[in-house]
């Protein structure tokens, strides 16, 4: 079964609005809604209500164009429109559309909640694949009889969602692909496809009902292939070479000829342990001891599941103190290490008010790294990966993750952007060496680079305009220039000529002259 929520972001926003269901008259007077997101060409409309379509707004339209369609609002204009409205109340004035930025995360989370809610009808329910899902699939094999058959179940679902102010379209078919296509492009709000009949039902539907990409759709359109029936008339063997593997795979999935992997939503049981106090406690030793006990209990649960702790939160119940949060580089079950981190975090924490209880929760778990031991291996054999992980955890707890970083060179020619710092606790990315200058050029870069270039006081210039005396030391040798012109997309164009100045006192500076202002700056030192 496919349950489609047409214009889902819009429906979610309207359903989340507090208050009772608006009367039909009020609903008609609702302002048009436009939801936009950042696309390839700036902000673009992703979803708009039917009221907004009266303004000529449609999905894909740039936001600038939407704004140009709206009347310019000035105080005088507002007054005159108000007067007009007062004069002829018969005319329904077009309400100004409400523009709202898309929130795909919230949309997905709400949809996941609904999928969990659907577990009352079937144990297997999940979201459609894709970045912005709008449908839920339900495997109702065997459970439909409990609700008066397929129609009974579909009608009940429709009624329950209507109570939540959510409008749906339902299709039940042998395959998920067919149910998706028929729910999105079929005529009926509830479509029940008899077993083995999906080919006949899908035939008159447009090819978009096969969940194919826009490129393939456009290619088919050029050949005047509009419906699935027309597509089926084309030689099957020629489809992959002409339109890619996706088309044939989608067609087979819709017709039930190919299997499709669907990921079900499952309720996750929270992993937590709690210790309530009879009276509020501020004694640090007591809290440390309770933390140790709770951690032991939590680790017992985790060991039963053969998983390790990746992120841990310790809530101080009834207190204004912020929860203690631990994020680890790799999942672990080592009590010693976790306790050390907890103490390191807690020793800087102030408990102004008494703590009524402690709740420890495993927010994220994962498989701990297990290495196969070699013949004659002892405990001290290669302890480095674990030692490094523990060091990174300790440093991140004490200094904060933003101060424990790994460095990656980027292909940006502007020196201050040529290096990117990423927290060690963030997802590891492989080092990209594409576009990195050759080693000989890298060696000529300074080992100390100022984040902001400092103005350089040049005491004397040579005839060709280069510094002859800097910092009361004469310049013995000038290397360069290395011209860097870049960064137009960041703001004003960066135009610099870089030089290496070797001073008589043995110091080497990396300086540049700004080609617009002709000012000299010190950017680095060859320490």
């Amino acid at each position: 079964m496919c349950v489609w929520f047409p214009r889902w972001p819009l429906q979610r926003l309207r359903a989340e609005r507090p208050g009772p269901e608006p009367e039909p008259e009020q609903a008609a007077a609702e302002p048009p809604f436009v939801i936009f997101a950042e696309g390839r060409r700036g902000f673009q409309v992703t979803v708009c209500s039917s009221e907004a379509e009266l303004w000529g707004i449609h999905p894909g339209m740039p936001l600038g164009e939407v704004r140009s369609l709206l009347p310019v609002r000035s105080t005088a204009a507002q007054r005159s429109s108000h007067r007009n409205r007062q004069k002829n109340r018969v005319d329904k004035p077009l309400l100004r559309p409400v523009l709202k930025r898309a929130d795909p995360v919230a949309d997905r989370l709400r949809l996941q909640e609904l999928a969990h809610w659907c577990h009352q009808y079937t144990p297997l329910a999940g979201l459609e694949e894709g970045a912005t899902p709008e449908s839920i699939w339900l495997d109702i094999s065997g459970s439909e009889s409990l609700f008066g058959g397929e129609r009974g179940l579909a009608e009940r679902l429709q009624l329950e969602f209507a109570r939540q102010r959510i409008q749906i379209r339902v299709a039940i078919a042998d395959s998920w692909g067919a149910a998706w296509g028929i729910s999105h492009f079929g005529e009926a709000e509830i479509a029940l496809v008899p077993a083995g009949q999906q080919a006949a039902w899908l035939g008159p539907l447009p090819v978009a009902a096969l969940r194919i990409s826009e490129t393939v759709r456009e290619s088919l359109q050029k050949l005047d292939v509009v419906t699935i029936a027309e597509l089926q008339r084309l030689p099957r063997t020629s489809l992959p070479s002409r339109f890619g593997k996706e088309l044939l795979s989608r067609l087979d999935q819709a017709l039930g000829g190919a299997a499709e992997l669907l990921q079900a939503e499952r309720l996750v049981e929270p992993l937590l342990t709690e210790w309530p106090f009879e009276e509020p406690v501020t004694d640090r030793q007591t809290l440390d001891h309770v933390c140790e006990v709770l951690l032991e209990r939590l680790l017992v649960i985790l060991e039963e599941r053969r998983v390790g702790l990746q992120e841990l939160v310790c809530h101080w119940l009834g207190s204004t103190t912020e929860p203690t949060r631990l994020r680890l580089l790799q999942p672990t079950t080592q009590k010693r290490h976790l306790l050390e981190l907890l103490r390191l975090q807690n020793e800087r924490r102030l408990f102004h008010t008494g703590v009524h209880g402690v709740r420890m929760e495993a927010v994220e778990i994962g498989l701990p790294s297990i290495r196969q031991r070699t013949l004659f291996a002892d405990e001290a054999d290669d302890p480095q990966p674990q030692a490094l992980a523990e060091l990174v955890d300790r440093l991140s707890v004490r200094l904060s993750p933003q101060r424990v970083l790994r460095l990656q060179l980027t292909a940006d020619p502007q020196p201050e952007f040529a290096c990117q710092a990423v927290p060690w606790l963030a997802q590891q990315k492989p080092l990209e060496l594409e576009g990195i200058p050759p080693l000989s050029r890298l060696r000529c870069r300074p080992s100390r680079l100022f984040s902001t270039p400092q103005p350089l006081v040049v005491q004397a210039f040579s005839r060709d305009g280069l510094p002859r005396q800097v910092n009361h030391s004469s310049v013995v040798r000038v290397g360069g220039p290395e011209r860097i012109e870049t960064g137009w997309w960041r703001g004003p164009d960066t135009k610099r000529d870089y030089y290496r100045l070797d001073l008589a006192n043995g110091v080497s500076l990396w300086v540049f002259v700004d080609r617009d202002s002709r000012c000299w700056f010190l950017h680095g030192l060859f320490t």
Binding site: T374, F376, L391, L405, L409, C444, S447, G506
Partner: protein, 264 residues
């Protein structure tokens, strides 16, 4: 009596047993550098210094000044320079690669946030396992360095330490011995007059730059080294970033007197 001796021979003491097991482990690894060297097989990546458990400074000229021709794991190495920007870090970078071959992590403690890895990459040091740490206070810096030195995964801990209390250096020394990595400290030349817990101290003096000589000339003096009386050894090195060469400046032969030269 004879029986007891035989029994003693048959069951070696625990130390011998541990040594035998250790040797067996080395043979099992087979391809490991240590295993190979213990069997007298020389690896192209192993210098004479490394094969004896010591680490090279990366510069044979500096190795020659040291008593065992290398530095021991767990040492603190001080580089004293009179002025910043004289190229001392290029010399210190040469020793990073041999140390990272044993323990792969390079910790750079840089409160200012001005370390630039391009030069290190240019000198052939991988920055994949670089741990760039930016402590916000002096106390955090001291703690961070100690943690890094104590960690067995960290091969080199790199720090610019301008002013340090003696006890901090002492703690670092103990931590380095526990972790087995190398601590590389950059300090001003004025610190040469102070006592230090560092095992090895180099004093760097930039030589006047010559317009016709490519690169930079630096004099490196051995101030003190653990296990060696002060003999005042010093070398002059030419460092060329463009070609990636660090060469010993060839010293000229003692000038003979004109009379002797003339065969008189």
């Amino acid at each position: 009596m004879q029986e007891n001796e035989l029994l003693a021979e048959a069951s070696p003491n625990p130390t011998q047993r541990a040594e035998t097991l250790h040797a067996l482990r080395q043979i099992c690894r087979g391809t490991s550098i240590r295993g190979a060297s213990s069997r007298g097989i020389s690896s192209p990546f192993t210098t004479q210094t490394e094969s004896r458990g010591r680490l090279s400074t990366g510069l044979p000229a500096l190795d020659a000044l040291l008593p065992e021709r290398g530095i021991e794991p767990g040492w603190l190495v001080e580089w004293l320079a009179p002025v910043e920007g004289c190229g001392v870090s290029v010399l210190a970078l040469q020793g990073v690669r041999p140390a990272l071959a044993r323990q792969p992590v390079w910790a750079v403690v840089d409160g200012m946030g001005e370390f630039h890895p391009a030069a290190a990459l240019g000198w052939g040091i991988s920055i994949e396992m670089l741990l760039w740490l930016r402590p916000a206070s002096v106390a955090d810096t001291a703690w961070t360095v100690e943690q890094c030195l104590r960690c067995p995964a960290v091969g080199v801990t790199w720090i610019q330490a301008d002013r340090l209390p003696e006890r901090v250096l002492q703690r670092w020394k103990i931590a380095a011995e526990a972790g087995g990595g190398i601590g590389v400290l950059f300090r001003p030349a004025t610190a040469a007059r102070q006592a230090s817990w560092a095992d090895l101290r180099w004093l760097v003096q930039p030589r006047p730059t010559l317009a016709h000589v490519e690169g930079k000339r630096i004099r490196v003096e051995l101030l003190s080294c653990r296990g060696r009386c002060h003999e005042g050894g010093a070398v002059e090195l030419d460092v060329c970033d463009a070609t990636g060469d660090v060469r010993l400046v060839s010293s000229l032969a003692t000038a003979t007197s004109p009379r002797r030269a003339a065969g008189a």
